[in-house]
Amino acid sequence: MKYNDIKIGDKEKLTHIITINDIEKFVELTGDDNKLHVDEKFASKTNFKKPVVHGMLGASFISTIIGTKLPGDGALWFSQSLDFLLPVRIGDKLTVVAEVIKKNDKEQIIELKTDIFNQNKQIVTRGFAKVKVVEFDTPVAATAEKIKAKERTALVIGGTGGIGRAACMQLAADGFNIIIHYHKNKKLADEIKADVEKLKRKAVIVKADILNDLEIKEMISKSLRASEYINVVVNCAAAVIPNIKFMDLEWSDFQKQLDLNIKAAFTIVKEILPVMIKNGYGKIINLGSFSVDKPNTEWASYITAKSALAGFTKAMAIELAPKGIRVNLVTPSLISTELTADIPEKIKLLTAAQTPLRRLASASDAAGAISFLASEKSDFITGENIRVNGGLIMI
């Protein structure tokens, strides 16, 4: 925490159950093998009857709370008073509480009340700490700047699909190097790679069945060998949407869609996150479906999975935002691609006629929104859903 973010009354706590292993480690580290702490027979002959845990062992957790929580990184702990009021035993559950009681703005010093309680809410150690809060640059912004200055790379999952291909080309035109994921169509992946290279950007193709966790892991590993600065992941993977009447649906139909839309997205994000967190910057862009807002019949499994993806996007957005990672959704209306080839012509004509801008969406419309979300122009946008639908659905 930065000094200005800390207020009097701010409080943090942590709990720890003392084990025999803790005592052994403490003795090994400090050499303090006082029999009162380690010898049951000896302890039984004293007023304490049972071994007493080293006072400084419990107190050492004050260091943890100051060093990691209040104020955390940048804490310079320079004073501590301690009164050991009650003995602590093996098996006791200690709760260490630190509370800011005073601030010195000139010196940027905070004073903390540091009390340790046992499981019976009895105070076992009382103390006061003084900590200087050392200023430091925000690593997120610093690293993000570095990444912006270096080569940017986008991994496009489902890069050979209609939207995926348009996204690859748009992002390459925007200055990104492209890692093109494909599953079956290597010829098309090679073609897109060549097109990207014509734009003087680097391109790599990676193959994976994204329903297979191991293949995802290998794909991400290969991608990271190609570029350690993958700062954009576009998740365009899709399969033909099955038309199944509700009474004919099996749970396995839902499972297939959930695996494709949620499990695969989850695994991909889990694999790429450590790099984005390390870089302090990242953009994850998922593809939603207009059918979530405007459902149609016989698509229950698909609509359910895409709805879950919308929720997953928001959940990731709120949790990853402090780490500099933005997660958003692009939701185009009906696009004439290979994926929608089975949709009757009449539905396409009707959708175009009902759309205020009087046409179907195109893959490049979706790519335009992806391009915006991948760029620094959208750095303050996360958890958002950009509907690319010509006004068909307004929320």
Binding site: E345, K346, L349, L350, A353, Q354, R358
Partner: protein, 78 residues
């Protein structure tokens, strides 16, 4: 099919009171200024009479342009 095309254009021209040559495959509620809600109902009645068909209620609102009219009329004639 070509016959139904000229029949539809004739009906649209008569209902919307515009020259036959102004109706094309791209004509729609956006391009024909006189296409209002009353004329839309007249269009339904005229198409039903011309082709001796009954246009289902759920399709009434879908007749938004020439291509959709042609598609729905042909479906009703089957």
């Amino acid at each position: 099919m070509e016959n139904s095309k000229s029949q539809i254009i004739k009906v649209m021209s008569a209902v919307f009171e515009v020259p036959i040559e102004s109706i094309t495959e791209t004509s729609s509620v956006d391009s024909i200024e006189s296409w209002d809600s009353v004329k839309h109902l007249n269009l339904i009645l005229a198409l039903e009479e011309e082709f001796n068909i009954s246009i289902p209620d759920e399709e009434v609102g879908n007749l938004m342009n020439y291509k959709l009219i042609e598609m729905i009329v042909n479906e009703c004639r089957k």
